[in-house]
């Protein structure tokens, strides 16, 4: 298992290097004058010249790339124009909020999507399957920003059941804790009131963000179950009288989720991207909201750091899904 993990980490390295190259090119080559871009709109020519020297834009590209790598290795992304604080610190503070949101959305997607996929497959080509097929395509087709506004309109503005925006009510003091996840930290601190409040704030953004993943997980689970049902071992398991429910929900399902698990790695990238829109609509104090601010104010340092962060998260999530895949399928243990 250790060798398997090590191999996976090594495989991720070339992609991360490619990511560094592309972000470097984006920031140094695409804008006509990167120093001017970094300095912002109101910079004086002297400031621009200083930045040009400070960042080494007057040196050859390869040397610039070397400097860039050194900065990234030190997690030194400079100071945000928007918040006037080190970008790395902003990100460290905001990351837990985004992870709490995306992980919640993913959990909703898995908890609902897997059973729905099984139901669709079991009723293959009958009306539940038909309905779920249209709904899952609809889930991918709906614009998240619009769906978020509709949810706000209905549940926050009209019915006033749930809060409109934010992560916790204004008067409420968020419990500090080891995870940075408000739901977990408030439980650890025994603050049921904070837990309830955080959950109410989380509901609408998490539901909005879960839509795309839910649809994808349903589709992949359905296809996986349909494929597994054709296998000889399922026929055997029926022939020796396994109870039907256990056969489908345990023996068939475990074989079917392999494709779904692989898909979750890809989904997580989409969730982070979705968080950009969802966070800005719900004023969720995470990376996505930060990214939108950065893009709107042309804060290149933040954009750069966020792009790198997303690339790293993507690589980490893919390693995790590979390990999950290994846990599900014992045949992989012996191969490596």
């Amino acid at each position: 298992m250790l060798r398997f993990m090590l191999r996976r980490v090594l495989l991720a390295l070339p992609s991360l290097f490619g990511l560094l190259v592309i972000t470097f090119l984006l920031i140094r080559v695409v804008p006509a004058d990167p120093a001017a871009a970094l300095a912002g709109d109101n910079a004086t020519p002297e400031q621009i010249a200083r930045i040009r020297h400070q960042y080494g834009f007057d040196r050859p590209l390869v040397a610039q790339f070397g400097l860039y790598i050194v900065d990234v290795a030190h997690l030194d992304f400079g100071e945000s124009q928007y918040s006037s604080r080190p970008v790395a610190r902003d990100i460290a503070e905001r990351l837990p909020a985004t992870l709490e949101l995306t992980v919640s959305a993913l959990l909703i997607g898995i908890v609902l999507g897997v059973p729905l996929g099984v139901v669709a497959a079991v009723h293959h080509n009958r009306w539940p399957d038909f309905l779920l097929r249209v709904l899952s395509i609809g889930g991918i087709a709906v614009a998240a920003f619009w769906f978020a506004i509709m949810l706000q309109l209905l549940f926050a503005m009209q019915l006033e059941w749930l809060p409109l925006r934010g992560r916790i009510s204004d008067g409420m003091i968020a419990p500090a804790g080891p995870t940075g996840f408000l739901l977990v930290d408030s439980l650890l601190a025994g603050r049921i009131d904070a837990f309830r409040d955080a959950l109410r704030h989380l509901a609408l953004p998490a539901i909005t963000l879960s839509l795309g993943g839910l649809a994808t997980i349903t589709r992949f689970t359905r296809a996986g179950v349909l494929e597994t049902m054709q296998k000889d071992f399922v026929l055997y398991e029926r022939a020796v009288g396994y109870p039907r429910r256990r056969l489908i929900w345990l023996y068939v399902l475990r074989n079917s989720v392999v494709a779904t698990v692989t898909q979750i790695g890809l989904l997580f990238g989409g969730l982070i991207a979705g968080a950009v829109v969802v966070e800005s609509i719900f004023d969720w104090p995470g990376i996505g909201d930060y990214t939108v601010q950065a893009i709107l104010t042309a804060d290149y340092k933040v954009m750069l750091a966020v792009t790198l962060l997303i690339g790293v998260i993507y690589a980490v999530v893919n390693i995790i899904t590979d390990l999950l895949h290994g846990l599900i399928d014992p045949r992989l243990w012996d191969q490596l």
């Binding site: 506004i149 800005s280 792009t307």
Partner: protein, 279 residues
């Protein structure tokens, strides 16, 4: 046509086709269909934020413009963006996929590694960043979307080319002295056309969606363009009073994207025999 006959039996796919045809008709005939074609830029401050009524079925916006007209007029822009983006992405992605799939060694490696990195980055964020770097406008949004979408075509065409390359018939063609361009264009490309069509159909829907997000975030279309995403963005100040302002442009996006996705999904089942069993 066999494909059409199969399509007619697949109700969701047929619904998708009808929606796509409907949206295309609306986009083409927009200026004649819209009850108030002048409302693309005019404003009538006396009839601001009127709820839906027989005179204005979708209500009016904060400048008193008829939302039904603006939703109709927005269809053309949405389809134009989608067609240009997907067309450009195909023009780049398909040849790259052919070359990477047919050649061996470093060229193929480099192309595919670059493709993988692009696929690893979330399209939306990359597009946002690119659009900002190139200074926000509809043109840079379209360029940014095309830059983020070509790798999907490269992947598909690469996989298909690799598969066909190892198939015997390419050896046979080389044996009778067919040149590489001829093999690629006359023999491999036609075989790869089905997955390209499927991906393009789904890509049209996807591009409309992402373009709407760009418009919503103020990185795409600029006022007074009747862009659906931009309209929803403008509506936020007037919620919850003017619920119709946000609702109808969003429904237009939903229906259009749903149409392309249903059609693409159905086409995939019909065109790709390897997937048919798992349907």
């Amino acid at each position: 046509m066999l494909v059409l006959r199969k399509l007619a039996r697949d109700i969701p796919a047929l619904a998708g086709l009808l929606i796509v045809l409907f949206v295309a008709a609306v986009a083409l005939a927009g200026p004649w269909l819209a009850p108030h074609p002048g409302d693309i830029s005019a404003s009538h401050l006396l009839q601001r934020l009127k709820p839906p009524s027989p005179a204005f079925p979708f209500g009016t916006d904060n400048l008193g413009r008829d939302l039904l007209s603006r939703v109709i007029l927005g269809a053309r822009g949405a389809l134009e963006v989608a067609l240009v983006v997907v067309g450009a992405a195909m023009a780049v992605g398909v040849p790259l996929g052919l070359i990477a799939g047919y050649s061996t060694g470093w060229l193929s490696e480099i192309v595919m590694r670059i493709t993988d990195v692009f696929l690893a980055l979330p399209q939306l964020i990359l597009a946002l960043a690119l659009a900002q770097l190139m200074s926000p406008s509809l043109e840079s949004a379209m360029l940014a979307l095309a830059i983020t979408y070509w790798p999907f075509f490269t992947r598909i065409v690469y996989a298909e080319t690799r598969r066909l390359r190892t198939a015997l018939f390419v050896d046979a063609l080389q044996g009778i002295g067919a040149g590489t361009p001829r093999i690629l264009l006359a023999h491999i490309l036609p075989n790869a056309i089905s997955p390209i069509i499927v991906r393009a159909t789904i890509g049209l829907g996807f591009t409309i969606l992402v373009a709407a997000v760009l418009g919503f975030l103020g990185m795409g279309a600029t006022p007074p363009d009747p862009d659906w995403g931009l309209t929803i963005s403008q509506s936020r100040t007037y919620l919850p009073r003017a619920w119709w302002y946000a609702t109808f442009p969003g429904l237009a996006i939903l229906v259009t994207v749903l149409g392309f996705n249903l059609l693409g999904d159905g086409l995939r089942d019909i065109l790709d025999p390897r997937l048919r069993r798992s349907r």
